[in-house]
């Protein structure tokens, strides 16, 4: 396999904020003492007057962002996924979602690939928590290119939004000509196939692509869908996968409960299409400290695990 070109989605986020900040003067950025990690520091350096350091006070940060939004600002509030959702759920629920505030919560360090910090910092429930909120759009970009595109769309699309990316570098999956087809609410077919569909998001899209290559060696033709928008979910594409291919696997660096797998299963269960189906993700368990690839292996998120699951499902 050729060596993949890597880039960090966090850098893409910070750089895109800087780029947008020049064009959209109403963009403001807030962070809770993690600006070096979330890369909002890039914006802070370029536009210090529009950057608000809120300290280790996430609840305040979210409500302040909502107040700023009520005055026509477009606030991007950033911290780690674990602090950006669970810790501030009530603030997001009332001040952002219920109030339809134009607040963009952009979380980094989502999922188990934060690795050595352990389960306290491995956020595997955020997509569920955000998806259940009315009015909320939920995004999980898979690479740096898609992150750039989705951050731009977040800034130009009205409404409460949550996005999460991982900590680590990620292989570049998108070419320049793909960018215009990355739209909120539209899944993207990364590679097409006819036997089985893998619907993945975030870091798991790359694992799914690897799995698809391995499966094709076994004469199993795989469609990989990058479902970067968890909500509103691209229902048409899910149903299309159910009709076009003989099985569906979802893959997410997240709990299998309530996130991408949950959302897809809800659609399939209420559809008239019966199709073998399996969710790959963290199986309702807190993980542990370790290297990301060790964790992916142990907790069943590796490409190899997807291959095994797909084969079993095809039988």
């Amino acid at each position: 396999m050729t060596k993949k070109e890597m880039a960090n989605p966090r850098d893409a986020y910070g750089e895109t904020l800087v780029k947008l900040g020049g064009k959209q003067r109403n963009i403001v950025v807030l962070d809770a003492d993690l600006s070096k990690s979330t890369k909002t520091i890039l914006f802070a350096k370029k536009y210090p007057e529009r950057f608000f350091e809120m300290g280790i006070a996430e609840a305040n940060m979210i409500s302040v962002a909502a107040g700023l939004a009520s005055c026509g600002k477009i606030p991007f509030a950033s911290t780690f996924a674990v602090f950006a959702t669970g810790r501030v759920y009530d603030q997001i629920r009332i001040d952002v979602a219920y109030s339809k505030a134009n607040v963009k919560i952009f979380a980094t360090h989502g999922g188990i690939s934060v690795g050595k910090d352990g389960a306290s910092h491995q956020m595997i429930e955020d997509l569920t928590l955000m998806r259940v909120l009315p009015n909320m759009t939920v995004l999980a970009p898979s690479d740096a290119t898609q992150t750039r595109r989705l951050v731009e769309l977040m800034a130009t699309t009205e409404g409460p939004m949550y996005a999460r990316i991982g900590r680590a570098n990620a292989p570049l999956l998108y070419k320049k000509e793909d960018i215009k087809d990355i739209q909120i609410g539209k899944g993207f077919i990364v590679r097409d196939g006819s036997d089985i569909s893998i619907i993945a998001c975030g870091t798991m899209v790359d694992q799914a692509v690897d799995a698809a290559e391995k499966l094709s060696a076994n004469k199993i033709s795989v469609r990989v869908v990058d479902m970067h928008t968890i909500k509103p979910l691209d229902k048409r594409l899910v149903l299309k996968c159910a009709r076009d291919t003989n099985a569906i696997v979802t893959a997410e660096e997240h709990s299998v409960i309530g996130g991408l797998g949950g959302a897809v299963s809800e659609i399939l269960a209420e559809s008239k299409v019966a199709v073998p189906f399996k969710r790959i993700g963290v199986q309702d368990i807190f993980c542990e400290s370790g290297e990301p690839d060790e964790l992916f292996e142990k907790y069943g998120l590796s490409a190899l695990h997807i291959v095994k699951t797909a084969k079993k499902l095809m039988k």
Partner: protein, 260 residues
């Protein structure tokens, strides 16, 4: 309103009346016909359970029809049990879950500074509400950002649902706490409209720090059997109590009119 709704919070609504009247009828710069005027002064009712008082003030100002007040908390009615922004004209922030409003007001104040606008931001918190940790995150942040365009008012009625604020979770000294967080602190009789207005004007003059006005109030003010009675925190009057209360309030109104 609460009698008809058969639910709601009379005690904390009555203790907040004079301050809200002072703000909406004597102090704030606002145009009810243009509730989204970017230069308006803003008021955030962080203690959202006092919604009836806010709604009454907004209706009397002309933000919406006074008849709406009779439909409070009823199905298909605009006036929700707790304030909702973007839905009820004049309501700036959705509140009801305690502790958020001060932060929300802080966001408005930051935007005002950024845009070099001269509007002011007012926020009322309950005394019991300051049990919430987020209040102190906001208190720290507001003084850090030197938000002298922010004036908070604390409805110091000394009661919360489970009892006295001092028994539930000691708050004293409220004055020392806020001043140690970097706020300019004023203390007034929260039922004296003239004194509240004076305090609001004094707050306007402060530079480089936010102001906290401690409103010394009586929960259930104006209705003898509700005053300082925790049973009326979240329970509306029954028919007998309603008639008695209205008789007392009507009497007070007539006495006031006679003075004018």
């Amino acid at each position: 309103m609460l009698y008809r709704a058969k639910s709601g919070h009379p005690g904390g609504s009555l203790s907040a009346v004079e301050a809200i009247v002072a703000l909406y009828f004597h102090h704030m710069r606002h145009t009810p016909k243009d509730p989204c005027d970017p230069n308006r002064d803003r008021f955030v009712l962080s203690k959202g359970h006092a919604a009836p008082t806010l709604y009454a003030a907004l209706a009397e100002c002309g933000y919406f029809d006074v008849k709406e007040l009779q439909l409070l908390r009823q199905i298909n009615c605009m006036l929700q049990g707790h304030p909702v922004c973007r839905y009820i004209p004049g309501v700036e922030a959705s509140t009801g879950s305690l502790g958020h409003g001060l932060s929300f007001a802080l966001g408005i104040a930051l935007a005002g500074k950024l845009d070099k606008k001269d509007y002011r931001v007012y926020v009322m918190v309950g005394d019991g509400e300051t049990d919430e940790g987020q209040i102190w995150e906001a208190a720290t942040s507001a003084s850090h950002y030197k938000l002298d365009n922010l004036t908070a008012l604390i409805d110091r009625n000394f009661l919360q649902i489970d009892g006295s604020t001092e028994d539930v979770l000691r708050l004293e000294s409220v004055r020392d706490r806020w001043s140690s967080f970097g706020w300019y602190v004023l203390e007034v009789d929260g039922h004296d409209i003239g004194k509240i207005i004076d305090a609001l004007l004094t707050a306007n003059e402060q530079k480089n720090q936010p102001t906290m006005i401690i409103l010394n109030t009586v929960k259930g003010k104006g209705v003898s059997f509700m005053e300082n009675n925790i049973d009326f925190h979240g329970v509306p009057p029954n028919e007998i109590e309603y008639k008695l209360a209205m008789k007392e309030l009507d009497g007070a109104q007539k006495a006031l009119e006679a003075m004018v």
